[in-house]
């Protein structure tokens, strides 16, 4: 399978605080769902900004499909990769939901007549089509994030990066956004690559693969099933385990296999019987 995103020998320093990434490499396969986790300031959001050319790096190479990121390919890369940011309010450009989805289409110079159908389709995919004429301040945080997803989806990207997209949401809004992501992934399968930057381990457990970053270094890069068995090491990195795994450890249950909350519940109830 081809790589959707390849980062090779990347070096980047913050303008004032100094070095962050040193000879950093990471690749994401087409159709993969990757979670990037790390504590605050570990460089995970910076990585997303680097991929989209919002920050300039010093050395190394970032490749998006067969395009090497540069001044010339910036527009092409941005039409392949979409991004949903953390703050629901600060990425809402339009005055209404439909206008916001239209913003990207207008930039791409899609003819006016084709827009309503594309907007409708994108909003349907996130279940927000009934809200097309609503103004942002009448929406909840979760709804705004779903509109932000629709705005990205309308541009038909191959890769979507979610930069802590659920961090500012209430539990309900968060569940709605995550549910939506699952549906999208199920619909597009290998045509959609998802990169989810998060510090929520329940979220990370949804991914196919988890990359753990600490101070610009790639510490782990493996499946959630194996990663979440390393409770001690994760805590050292300022991270936690998913609830089920933490609970199991607290209970002193020795079980070498990874379990989701449902699996643990099922397993515990067999014990009782």
């Amino acid at each position: 399978m081809t790589d959707a995103i390849t980062i090779k020998n990347l070096t980047y320093s913050y303008p004032e605080q100094g070095g962050l990434f040193q000879d950093f490499s990471l690749s994401v396969k087409e159709g993969e769902w990757l979670a990037i986790v790390g504590h605050n300031g570990s460089g995970k959001s910076t990585l997303a900004k680097l991929i989209l050319g919002l920050l300039d790096f010093e050395e190394g190479r970032i490749k998006v499909f067969d395009q090497v990121l540069s001044e010339q390919t910036l527009a092409a890369v941005r039409s392949t990769v979409g991004m949903v940011f953390q703050n629901p309010d600060n990425q809402f450009v339009g005055a209404t939901v439909a206008d916001d989805v239209a913003f990207g289409l207008e930039n791409r110079q899609i003819p006016s007549l084709e827009m309503p159908a594309k907007i409708e389709k994108a909003l349907k995919q996130v279940g927000m089509n009934a809200y097309a004429d609503r103004e942002p301040h009448t929406l909840s945080g979760g709804q705004k994030q779903r509109v932000a997803m629709a705005s990205v989806l309308a541009l038909e990207p191959k890769v979507i990066i979610l930069d802590e997209a659920t961090a500012m949401l209430d539990p309900e809004g968060k569940q709605a956004v995550l549910q939506n992501l699952k549906e999208l992934k199920a619909r597009y399968q290998d045509e959609l690559t998802l990169i989810m930057i998060t510090h929520d381990m329940e979220e990370a457990a949804m991914a196919d693969r988890v990359a753990v970053i600490d101070d610009g270094k790639l510490i782990f890069d493996e499946k959630p099933e194996t990663l979440f068995l390393k409770g001690e090491r994760l805590r050292e990195l300022g991270l936690t385990q998913p609830f089920a795994m933490a609970l199991r450890e607290q209970l002193g249950i020795q079980n070498p296999a990874y379990q989701t909350t449902q699996e643990l519940v099922a397993w515990l109830s067999t014990l009782k019987a």
């Binding site: 919002l54 527009a75 979409g82 600060n90 990425q91 206008d99 239209a102 990207g104 207008e106 942002p136």
Partner: protein
């Protein structure tokens, strides 16, 4: 703040909602401009009749317009008092010491109230029936000739629509900061004027910092979605001049001619 009707869009389906926003802006400008030249009760009556027609065509309840007038009642009252007391002239209707209320003063006061109310109502009709985005794109379209002078009209219009979009957000944020500072003992309503002015600073600083952060985030979000320049973008909402607009044009022309006829009569 939420009761403020001026500048607020209220969804509806009257004829005025279907007009091209450019038509409505031009109509409002012509109307306000003409009112400045109103010189007697006939012209005021004529203007009021035109306004009434517009009011009916919005299909909105009168209560909404009353709420539009209410916040400026004090301002109107203030100008009325000024006109009543300081217009001078004869005959004197009644006097209380050095304060005289004269007949021309009374006339002036009535005219000022009528003019004030008519102007406010007409602009309220414009904003009630036109969403801010439509106003922004109408302004862009109307200012197009300025492109010859290298005025960045498209950029200005985009800035305007983004600014409008952030007004409710920043208002909410101001409210939040104000409450946070109040809970720490700040008071904006007591103390000397200097003290009160100083109390505004801890309000403004976080507001500005927040606004700058938002601006940076928004710039990123816009770039990622392919924004390069306000020029050369297609439009989701195309402005279209229709049959109703021609109708409105003739109505305004009729008003204009009638107004001139009445004022030279």
């Amino acid at each position: 703040m939420n009761n403020l009707v001026i500048g607020q869009f209220v969804p509806g389906d009257g004829l005025l909602y279907r007009l091209d926003p450019r038509t409505k802006i031009l109509m409002t400008i012509v109307y306000v401009f003409m009112l400045v030249f109103a010189n007697g009760w006939t012209t005021y009556l004529w203007s009021a009749a035109f306004l009434l027609l517009a009011l009916i065509l919005t299909k909105q309840g009168l209560g909404l317009y009353w709420r539009g007038i209410k916040p400026i009642l004090w301002l109107i009252l203030f100008t009325v008092v000024l006109q009543l007391l300081f217009s001078g002239g004869t005959p004197v209707l009644f006097a209380l010491g050095p304060v005289k209320v004269t007949a021309p003063g009374l006339m002036n006061a009535i005219y000022v109230v009528v003019r004030f109310v008519l102007i406010v109502l007409m602009s309220t009709i414009l904003t009630i029936t036109t969403p801010p985005t439509a106003i922004a794109s109408a302004i862009e379209s109307l200012l197009k000739p300025l492109k010859v002078l290298r005025v960045p009209v498209a950029e200005l219009a985009l800035m305007l629509s983004i600014a409008l979009r952030f007004v409710p957000l920043l208002m909410g944020e101001t409210d939040k900061i104000m409450k946070a500072q109040k809970s720490r003992g700040m008071s904006l309503s007591t103390g000397s004027l200097v003290k009160r002015a100083k109390a505004v600073i801890p309000l403004l600083v976080p507001l500005f910092v927040g606004a700058l952060q938002r601006a940076l985030d928004l710039a990123n979000a816009m770039e990622v979605r392919g924004f390069e320049s306000a020029e050369g973008r297609t439009r989701y909402r195309e402005l279209a001049y229709g049959r109703d607009d021609t109708l409105a044009f003739f109505a305004t022309l009729l008003f204009f001619l009638g107004f001139i006829w009445l004022s030279i009569l």
